[in-house]
């Protein structure tokens, strides 16, 4: 028997185009691959319209092969609202960072969630503004250094880390809110399952779903990729507990 016969044959990825520009060890790259896999598995690629954020993943549509729109910083949920309502047959995804979704775009995400818009949000919480060089995000941990909190984030100056899943969980409309992470294989697989569930909710017309992914930014955290995932696992999950907040 030839060895190749023993290797299971996986289908060629159709959505994920096989490369990204992200820094080595960045969670965006892993997440793109997962999202591509799930879209392939569900066979929805030709129906997807994804709204890219302004952030490191602003070029996501160069790596994921489906239609999409590049809107202003934070406004993806407003764009997605119109896209889904006017093209209900499409599968609409917003992919947003923590600056994008939880600072400049807080209003848009809360109201889209509150209206129960039928699209899927992939929310990447890496506790920093990656693209602009490591400034404080609303999700930056207390004590965590950034270029705008050079001595660490203090609550008396900058308030507390903003918990998006918990905040949205006060609303009636959302059907699915889960916080996942990418720090080891087990959690990567959980993230994959969450993405699938969130997309299925849309396909089956159930309602607004958001998956918050605790990710890293080794470059701006000034850590090795390994150290950064340790930080996610040991520090971020203390402030942002993993789990399902809403599943109805």
């Amino acid at each position: 028997m030839r060895v190749s016969a023993l290797i299971p044959k996986y289908p060629e990825p159709e959505t994920y185009m096989g490369h990204t520009h992200y820094c080595p060890g960045c969670g965006h790259a892993t997440l793109h691959k997962l999202l591509g896999e799930v879209v392939d598995e569900l066979g929805i690629r030709k129906r997807v319209i994804m709204i890219e954020p302004v952030g490191c993943s602003v070029l996501a549509l160069k790596y994921l092969k489906f239609d999409g729109i590049q809107g202003p910083h934070g406004r993806a949920p407003a764009i997605a609202t119109a896209v889904k309502r006017l093209r209900p047959e499409s599968i609409v995804i917003t992919y947003q960072g923590d600056g994008d979704l939880a600072a400049i775009g807080t209003n848009e995400i809360i109201h889209a969630a509150n209206r129960g818009e039928l699209f899927t949000v992939v929310f990447v919480n890496n506790a920093v503004y990656g693209m602009t060089g490591g400034q404080m995000a609303p999700t930056t941990l207390l004590g965590q250094k950034s270029t705008t909190t050079p001595t660490g984030r203090f609550a008396e100056f900058c308030g507390y880390p903003l918990r998006v899943c918990e905040l949205l969980n006060t609303l009636d409309a959302p059907v699915y809110l889960e916080r996942v992470s990418l720090f080891d294989v087990e959690h990567i697989l959980k993230t994959r399952a969450a993405l699938k569930k969130a997309l299925l909710n849309q396909i089956e017309g159930r309602g607004f779903s958001l998956v918050e992914v605790l990710s890293n930014c080794p470059t701006n955290w000034k850590m090795t990729p390994e150290e950064s995932w340790e930080f996610v696992k040991n520090e971020m999950t203390k402030v942002f507990p993993l789990g399902v907040f809403r599943d109805k």
Binding site: K65, I69, Q70, R75, A78, A82, V83, L86
Partner: protein, 363 residues
């Protein structure tokens, strides 16, 4: 077609629906709110009809949404335009300021849509009385970067409908956003009007991000460059389009200019008052005429240039602001005639008597 009696803002609603409006996204603000309310009334009446098993009156008008802000509204408009639908938003001055970021993105991405500005007094919260202080914002940019909006300036209830309809066709034709710039007076005023016959022009939108479907290539709506060369190329294409619009789409009305020695010029509400003042001055034997720009961009510079080359040496500009429109008139006149400004700001519409006096001062 029969005449109807309606408010300017209602005429916009009817015009948009006749033009095949598919989606409206807005946030209330005086003096534009009758637009969002009028559309809500028709949209939800149609949903009631459907519930009763009847046919909707406006089958194309599938999405109406009162959003959480003008920011959300203009971005929803961006979404709707990106997927190839006829979409509109309406607001008044402070709300239009908030929309500027989105307008810049929409222009950059070459998306057609219609934006209504029923101008009130500014700056700041200002007043709800009519002014024309958003002229620069509408015709010179408003948002960041190099871009243009096709800007129509109606001066009657009928034109509120007609220009809205024209804007849907032209913005689709050129793949660029357009604005209807009317002062609050026009929005609130009621008069007799007739719906103009502006047939819907259907344009293919193969560029729309509708999901790949049978396409092998992605449609992405974006305007982002990592190096200068492709941006130079894309912006040059934009510029060429703007030049084409400037060459083809200038519109203005002239009145009694054939033998005029004095020219009065105004847009929107003051142009109606100015017209009456021109008639009165004519009765006194003064050779005076009127130019009323209908498009503010592209601006009818040429007609001012032509008229002031041999015929006219005095120009009276009437506008409801410190004087913004006057700067474009001066660009057209290029020093060939004396240009006087009669500026009424703060929410006061100039009267016939005042304009007549200003004309007589020029005699």
């Amino acid at each position: 077609m029969s005449r109807v009696y309606m408010k300017g803002n209602e005429a916009i609603v009817e015009g948009a629906l006749r033009a095949g409006l598919e989606g409206f996204f807005g946030y209330p603000i005086t003096p534009s709110s009758e637009i969002i309310e009028g559309l809500a009334e028709r949209f939800f009446a149609d949903r009631e009809r459907e519930r009763r098993g009847e046919k909707p009156m406006y089958p194309k008008f599938r999405v109406f949404l009162q959003m959480e802000s003008e920011l959300a509204s203009i971005n929803a408009v961006m979404g709707g335009a990106s997927v190839g639908c006829r979409v509109m938003t309406a607001s008044s001055s402070p709300g239009i300021s908030l929309k500027q970021e989105g307008i810049s993105y929409i222009a950059a991405c070459e998306l057609p849509c219609v934006i209504i500005n029923i101008m009130r007094g500014g700056p700041g919260l200002g007043s709800i009385q009519p002014e024309q202080g958003d002229y620069f914002q509408a015709v010179k940019g408003g948002g960041h970067g190099d871009y243009k909006l096709i800007v129509f300036a109606p001066n009657s209830v009928q034109e509120m409908a007609e220009h809205t309809m024209l804007l849907f066709n032209l913005t689709d034709k050129y793949r660029t956003p357009g604005m209807l710039l009317a002062d609050g007076y026009l929005g609130q005023m009621k008069e007799s009007m007739e719906f103009p016959d502006v047939p819907i022009e259907e344009y293919e939108k193969p560029w729309a991000a509708t999901g790949m479907g049978d396409r092998e290539t992605q449609n992405t709506i974006e305007f982002l460059f990592l190096t200068p060369e492709p941006m130079v190329e894309a912006k040059t294409r934009l510029l060429q389009k703007y030049k084409q619009i400037e060459a083809n789409e200038v519109r203005y009305e002239d009145y009694k200019i054939d033998d005029a020695k004095i020219l009065v010029t105004a847009f929107g509400t003051p142009s109606r008052v100015a017209k009456a003042a021109v008639d009165q001055a004519r009765e006194k034997g003064v050779k005076v005429g009127l130019i009323r720009p209908i498009t503010l961009w592209p601006f009818p510079y040429q007609v001012y240039a032509d008229l002031t080359t041999h015929q006219i040496d005095r120009v009276l500009v009437v506008e409801m602001s410190f004087g913004q429109f006057v700067e474009d008139v001066r660009l057209g006149v290029e020093g060939r005639a004396e240009v006087k400004l009669y500026a009424r700001y703060g929410g006061i519409v100039p009267t016939e008597k005042e304009i007549l006096e200003k004309i007589m001062e020029l005699v």
